[in-house]
Symmetry: C2
Subunit: 477 residues, 2 copies
C-alpha cells in the first residue's frame, strides 16, 4: 500500500519536463522516495552465529527501499531494494545514516541513474560534508553501499535481469566506468582493467551457460558456530557432506585445546577429502595467531580467516610469512584501498568480499578487478541475513565477466533466515543455483519486515499486534 | 536547568546501596544521564576551512554531556563534556551513534569509572554488537571517542585538574592500564611502554614547570585556506609571523600552478626563516603526489600532510621514498592499528593526532606511546570547532609524561569559534598557554549550544526565537 498517488510528478521534475519538449511522449520517471527500516531478527536467543568476537548477534538489516513513479510492464511499481547487514545494537544508527543520503536520491531521473551507476556511487562517496564521517569506511560507507546496491537492484529489475546477468551483459567500457579509480592507480589502472575485461570477453557465453547449468560452488559454516555442542557439530558436518559441500568452515579462537578437539570431531565426521577452514574473527595479535595456527597444523586447513585486526595489512603479511595455513580476510575490510594493500603486500592467499560492507556493487567490482590482477581467488562472505542472496550475484558476475574462474573458489552458505526473502537463494548439491528473478535479491517479504521491525514489531514487542510496525507498511510497494 | 531532582538515585543503584551497609555514610554517585546535541556553525557562508576535498564545511559538533548526581565543592553538578567534530551533514548520524552508547553509561558508579577509565573505553569498543559497525573506525568509533573524552573530562574536573595535568600526574602503571593492547604487541608491548614511561619519570617536574612558564609551540593554518584571495593570504601570513608563529601551513592540491603562486606569496610574506608546510587533504594518487611535490621542491617544505588516502599505508611509504618533502598524515587515521603500521612501514616522518577521530584519550595515549617508541614527532591536528581546546591537553601531557619533547613539534592553531567555549584556548607569542581550568576543554557556552542547535537554533532557523533549541536546554547543567 503506497502513500503515493499513481501519477505524482515532483515539482522540480515537472519544470525540467517542460524544458524538454522532445520528450513529450513520455513522462520522466524519478525516484520519488527513499525509506530506511530497522529490521532485526532475535538470533541470539538460539546462539546461531556465535563466534569468538560475536558471542550473541541479533542478525539485522538496515533496509533500504527506493520507490519510483515508474511502472513495470506487469503493473508493479518499479522499486529498488537494498540492505546493510548488522548484528543488532546500532542498527538504528545505520538506518539514520541511510536517511542522511535522502537528498542525493529523491527526485533523481531514473534514466540518468541507470545510465551512470558509477557516477551515482561517486556522488555519494564524494559528498564533501558526509565524507568527513569516514572517509569511505564504517557506518556512513556501509549506508552508501546499501543505497548504491538498491540502485543496482532497481536498474536490473528495470532491465528484467538478475543482477549477475545485468553486470555480465555490460561491456568492458561500461564496467570500468562504474569504478572510482581514485587511490588505485599504483596497483591497477583503468587501462589495465579494460584489457583484463576484454580478455575475459572470450568465453563469456560459454561460462554463462555453464553457470546456468551447474550453479556456483558453495561452502558452509552452518556446523561450526562456537555455541554448538560437539554432537551438533558432528551431526551438522555429516549433513553438510551429504548435502554435497566440499569445504566446511569452523569458528575458532576462544581456546586452542577446544579448537583442536572440535577440528578432530569435524575431520572424523567429514572424512579425508572434504576441506576444513577456520575463522578466528579477529581474535589474535600477530604472535598469538602464529602460535595458535601452528597448533592446528595437523589439519591441513584450507584457510584461516580474519586471524587479526581487519585493518592490519602488515600483520596479515607477517602471519602469512610465518605459517603454512593460507591466510585470508575481507568481510570487515573497509574499502578498495585496504584490499589493494593486502594484495600489494602479499598479505593474503585469498580474500572474502562482502556485499554490504563496502560502497556497493561498484566498489566490489573494483575489488574483483584487483583480485583478477593479483590472481587472488575470492571466497565471498555470506550468512547473516540476506548476505547469501546478495553476494552470489557478485561471484557469478565475476565468473562470467571478470575472473573466468569458479571451481577454485566458493561462496559461503549458512542456512539462516532465507525464508524472509521474496527470492531466497537456492542450493543444490552444494552449489548456488543461478538466480533468474530480476534484481539483486535484497527484497524481504512485507510480513517479515513488519513483524521484525525494531522495537515495535511483534517479534520484539510481545504485547504488540502482528502489524505493529505499521509505519513501515507504507514503505512496501 | 536540570530535569533531575537533586537527590535522585536510580533504582538499580539503590538496590546495590542496600547490599553494602558499610557504605551507609555516603550515597554512591552515578552518571545519571547521557545527552547528545547536534550543534552546527554555518562556516561555509564565509569559505573558512575550505580545502581541496572539503570546499564548504559547516564546522559542527556532536556534543556529549554526561550528567551525574554528584556535586562539586563549589555547588555545581559534576558533569563531563565531550564532542565529536564533523563538518556539517551527517552530524545527526554522529549524534545518533553517541545515543546508542547510553546503556553503557547511565547508572555507572563514578568511583569505579574514575578508577578504571581504560576499562570503560574497552567496554565501549568491545560491545559485541556495536563492534560490527566498525570495528574501531568511522561514525561508531568517533562516538565512542566522544563519550570516552567526556568521561576523562568528568574525571579531571572531579580531581580539580586540567586534563593535561591529570594525565601527567598518573603513574606509568596507571597510564599503561588505560590502553587497549590488542593488536599492538608486534610493535609495542605493555612492558616496553612501561619502561619508556619510567624513563620519562625523570624530569617530569621540570618539564611541568617549563610548560607552565612558556606554553607549547603552535603553528597556524589560518592564512592558508583555498577560498582566500592572494591579498588575504599575504596579509594573514604577515599577521602570523608578527604573532610569533614559526610555521604556517597552506592548503594545496587543486591546481599545481596555483599552489606554486600561493607558496611564493607566502614565502615573500614570511621571509626565509619561517617554515612552510602544505596539506593536500587526500587529493592525490601515489604518482600524482610524487609529481606534484616535485613541482613544489623549491619551497623546502616542513612537511606535506595527507598526500593520499588516509588508509593507504603503503602509498604513503611509496611517496616518502620518492620525494624529499617530509611526509605526514593522521587527522583521518582511524585507530591505533593504522598508526602502528604507518610507523612500522616507515611511511611517515611525523604524524598528526586528532582528539575526536579515534576512540578517545586512551587510544591517543597508545598512539603517543607508539610515536615515542618509533621516535616520530607529533604535530596534533586542530582547528574546526573545539579541536584546539581538546588536543592541546594531549600534546602537553605527552611533553610532561611521555615523549619529553616539545620544541621539535607544534600543535595546529586556527582562530575559529573559540568564543563558544567556556574555557577557550589562549595563545601567546605563537604558543598555547597551559590551561589551568579543570577538564578537557570541550564545554560550550549554553547560549552557543542553544543558538547553533540544528535545525531549530536561531542561526539555522531565521524565524526561530533565540531559545529555539529548547529541548537542549535541559542538557546544560
Amino acid at each position: 500500500m503506497s502513500k503515493h498517488p499513481m501519477f505524482l510528478v515532483p515539482c522540480s521534475n515537472a519544470a525540467r519536463y517542460e524544458a524538454h519538449p522532445s520528450e513529450v511522449t513520455h513522462r520522466m520517471a524519478t525516484i520519488s522516495r527513499l525509506e530506511a527500516g530497522d529490521v532485526r531478527f532475535p538470533t541470539s536467543r538460539h546462539l546461531d552465529g556465535s563466534d569468538a568476537m560475536n558471542p550473541d548477534p541479533d542478525y539485522s538489516a538496515a533496509y533500504v527501499v527506493l520507490e519510483t513513479d515508474e511502472w513495470l510492464p506487469g503493473g508493479e511499481r518499479l522499486t529498488g531494494y537494498g540492505l546493510v547487514f548488522t548484528i543488532g545494537r546500532g542498527n538504528d544508527v545505520q538506518t539514520a545514516a541511510i536517511e542522511a543520503l535522502r537528498e542525493h536520491v529523491e527526485g533523481l531521473d531514473i534514466d540518468e541513474l541507470c545510465a551512470d551507476l558509477g557516477g551515482f556511487a561517486r556522488r555519494l562517496t564524494g559528498d564533501s560534508q558526509l565524507r568527513w564521517l569516514g572517509p569511505e569506511k564504517g557506518v556512513m560507507h556501509m549506508a552508501i553501499g546499501g543505497v548504491v546496491n538498491a540502485a543496482w537492484d532497481l536498474a536490473s529489475r528495470r532491465a528484467g535481469k538478475p543482477l549477475w546477468r545485468f553486470i555480465s551483459d555490460m561491456t568492458p567500457e561500461q564496467l570500468v566506468a562504474c569504478i572510482d579509480w581514485r587511490y588505485l592507480s599504483d596497483a591497477l589502472t583503468r587501462e589495465e582493467a579494460l584489457k583484463l575485461l576484454e580478455e575475459a570477453n572470450e568465453g563469456r557465453e560459454r561460462r554463462r551457460g555453464d553457470l546456468e547449468a551447474r550453479g556456483y560452488p558453495a561452502y558452509t559454516t552452518s556446523p561450526g558456530w562456537l555455541g554448538y555442542s560437539d554432537e551438533k557439530l558432528a551431526s551438522l558436518c555429516r549433513d553438510a557432506v551429504a548435502g554435497g559441500y566440499r569445504t566446511i568452515k569452523l569458528k575458532v579462537g576462544n581456546d586452542v585445546e577446544d579448537d583442536v578437539r572440535r577440528l578432530r570431531i569435524a575431520r572424523d565426521a567429514v572424512g579425508p577429502d572434504v576441506r576444513l577452514a577456520v575463522d578466528a574473527n579477529q581474535r589474535w595479535d600477530v604472535a598469538d595467531a602464529v602460535k595458535w595456527l601452528s597448533a592446528l597444523g595437523e589439519f591441513d586447513l584450507a584457510w584461516v580467516e580474519e586471524p587479526t585486526s581487519p585493518d592490519d595489512i602488515l600483520g596479515h603479511a607477517a602471519i602469512r610469512a610465518a605459517v603454512s595455513t593460507p591466510v585470508s580476510t575481507g568481510e570487515h575490510t573497509q574499502n578498495r584501498v585496504v584490499f589493494k594493500q593486502l594484495m600489494q603486500a602479499g598479505a593474503v592467499d585469498l580474500i572474502q568480499i562482502d556485499a554490504t560492507r563496502v560502497g556497493g556493487v561498484d566498489e566490489n567490482l573494483a575489488i574483483l578487478l584487483l583480485a583478477r590482477k593479483f590472481e587472488i581467488p575470492v571466497f565471498p562472505h555470506a550468512g547473516g541475513v540476506g548476505l547469501c542472496e546478495l553476494v552470489q550475484h557478485l561471484a557469478m558476475a565475476d565468473y562470467v565477466a571478470i575472473s573466468g574462474s569458479m571451481e577454485d573458489r566458493a561462496v559461503e552458505y549458512v542456512d539462516h533466515l532465507h525464508e524472509h526473502f521474496t527470492d531466497p537463494v537456492q542450493i543444490s548439491g552444494g552449489r548456488y543455483v543461478a538466480p533468474t528473478a530480476p534484481g539483486m535479491g535484497a527484497r524481504m517479504k512485507d510480513r517479515s519486515v513488519v513483524d521484525h521491525t525494531y522495537p515495535g514489531g511483534s517479534v520484539w514487542c510481545a504485547d504488540a499486534p502482528t502489524a505493529a510496525g505499521t509505519e513501515l507498511e507504507g514503505v512496501l510497494s
